[in-house]
Symmetry: C2
Subunit: 134 residues, 2 copies
């Protein structure tokens, strides 16, 4: 079965900001959530525990590094981290900087929209430049 | 400010199935999702990167251990893992066994209900006995 995280054609359009032997960090184009990134396993596995312990640790250290980076650059009110993969069962982690006034807060970004008028401040778009340059 | 994960009165009603110096694993009473657990930091911190590296690693190893345990006992179609904390900003991780036919699949459990008729098979309730006994 084809997988959007494996196919070369879709991979070539990814905006990768960091990568190592086990995973890569890509920007998610979401106009409501600047700074939204995904950490994607390079190998096609479904769950974290399908990786070797060493490789799972590399993913974990990448999550820690990216949470730290996102907090430093975006100063969010909260960071949301999730590995779901119900639609694309290829291990990937969502990391999303959240703000008290954002489009879904306090819901997860997959929940009901509570603030439909919300658009991120231009300051957050400027932060994106810093994130892309890491 | 009071915190549901810190208050002794709410802690005393937690169904703890495993604990260590850094975090505890509790059962979440959700009739649609038997096997839904939370890993809660013992110290009141907001984000994973508020913990020391050593303690973050203990949380991570607990996540790995619990994902492995949940997969073994419940054999889910997918495992969902998330640290949100928008409502209760005290570090805690949700681990949720998911099935293709469950109440929200493929949505996250915080998303729209897609299968309102769903009730878990009695087999999954029996798995709970195994989980409680770990």
């Amino acid at each position: 079965m084809s997988c959007v995280f494996c196919e070369q054609s879709s991979r070539s359009s990814e905006k990768v900001i960091l990568s190592n032997d086990v995973c890569r960090v890509i920007l998610v184009a979401d106009k409501y959530y600047p700074g939204y990134i995904q950490i994607i396993s390079n190998s096609h596995v479904k769950e974290l525990t399908d990786l070797s312990s060493d490789n799972a640790l590399i993913v974990f250290n990448t999550i820690l590094h990216m949470e730290k980076t996102i907090r430093k650059i975006f100063n969010p009110d909260k960071v949301n981290i999730a590995s779901l993969g119900n639609v694309v069962p290829h291990l990937h982690w969502h990391i999303i900087p959240r703000y008290f006034n954002d489009r879904h807060f306090p819901n997860p970004v997959w929940g009901e929209i509570l603030n439909p008028e919300y658009l991120p401040d231009s300051h957050l778009h400027r932060c994106m430049t810093t994130l892309i340059g890491i």
